[in-house]
Amino acid sequence: MSDSKVASMHDAVAELVRDGDTVAIEGFTHLISFAAGHEIIRQGRRDLTLARMTPDLVYDQMVAAGVARKLIFSWLGNPGVGGLGGIRRRIEAATSAPGGGDGRLPRLEVEEYSHFGMVARYTAGAANLPFMPLRSYFETDLPTANPQIREIDSPYGDGKVYAVPPLKPDVSIVHAQRADRDGNTQIWGLLGCQKEAAFAADRVVVVVEELVDEAVIRADPNRTIIPGLIVDAVVVEPYGAHPSYVQGAYDRDNRFYLEWDAITKDEAALQAWLREWVLDVDGRAAYIDKLGPDRVAALRPSGTAPSGVVDYGAYR
């Protein structure tokens, strides 16, 4: 990469995502960087620990492609549709074994929390805290399944809560509506845990629909979710979130999520899909071309919904 943070997806992944890394591609249904996930597959990364609240289709694809050793998560599924076969076959007894073999896939290591636990882990990571307390996990089997979830006494003598440890990804990758060249990033709509995941990470890649002038960002500083200070690369990749969505730009491609159900149930179909849509495609622009203009056009919002303008006032 040059001095500028603006980079191609190829270069950003080549430089910033390394074998063995803990990688968080975050975004709660909204703004999921499928483009980054596909590039990581194409570059053949291995032994990644993939962290994400909702592994979703993007991690189903990455796990099926063999990039991952371990999964850290809180909800594993295709929401409203069904399961993630690529991941499930790497966990369930009939289809996987530690180390693989015997026609079985290598067992994926899992480290499991609740949603609040995952959010709290990123928050602790971002805030450089050794733990975050939360009122969850009481009387459940989760602390047994995951000994990282620990009881802690309140220092005020009013009982116990649970703690989760910080999660500090080596790389967090976040899709957004817009950023400037320095990586100052603005998001509207669902915010998920992207801010926390970015501040917690050692390296940050921001993927945007649109690169804007610094003045656009500075006109509305309350909308800035991630400061350029913590961003290592800015990748401009329109439609980089498909089949996930970008508020105001394009809709969630629910048809794709529904169709995925049949693909993910069948390992051969899933591998064929990866060949056709990831390995044999040289980047996001080609993927969108292949998707076709009609499919893309159908994802446009049904109308506009402008935010209105607020006045910060000039003070000289």
Binding site: F28, S74, E92, A93, A94, E112, S136, E139, T140, Q247
Partner: protein
Amino acid sequence: MTDVPFTRNEMMIVAAARELAGQRVCFVGVGLPNIAVNLAKRTVAPDMELVYEAGVFGARPARLPLSIGDPTIVTGATSVVSMHELFSFYLQGGLIDVGFLGAAQIDRFGNINTTVIGDYDAPTTRLPGSGGACEIAINARQVFVIMRQSARSFVERIDFRTSPGNLGGAEQAERIRGEGGWLGRGPSVVVTDLGIWHFDDDGEMRLDSLHPGASLEDVRSSVHWAPKLAASLATTPPPTDEELRLIREELDPGGAYTR
């Protein structure tokens, strides 16, 4: 009431929606809870505030979202915040009246499993896991459950406790909730494709209403324990024309939830 034929799933969704009458703030779970809550908002609970764990308070979805994260729950909402804020200030802060959950396995005391069938380390079936369900069960003032009832789901002993219900019974649950400072009072209702269960003074499920077309034999053959039945078992009023129209034309025209 209607003469139009309806499915068991439709009856289940309608019955679940009706249970929300009078509720103020509802935390909407993924799947069946999502359609039940959206039906309630259009019928018995028009002023109910919908909270989505994705970070939305006061959602006004113009269509039924397939996922619980969807652009339609954002546009026109009252407030959209980070998930950390949603879970910290709204849920753990005690602002949620009803947490509406689905379940894969449930026991007589309303304890829920959505994690694994079989052994945790090498499961027969890997389920989605907690998501927000674990903390919803603990912090929402009440918990409503909607799920299809079967011998695989209504079990004597769940394989994994993802979300606590009434633990080993009401007495134990009340003591532990009190000592632990839980805000939640546990499960209130379980609506299935066969009937409506509430929880009795022992903290155990009791069938209070049987859906039209369902028999006690259906119920008994799909519950792994000897189920308690209300002394005067009601029959659930069938869906109205309007309820069916809303489900079929507005909420689920593709039939994803109702088939």
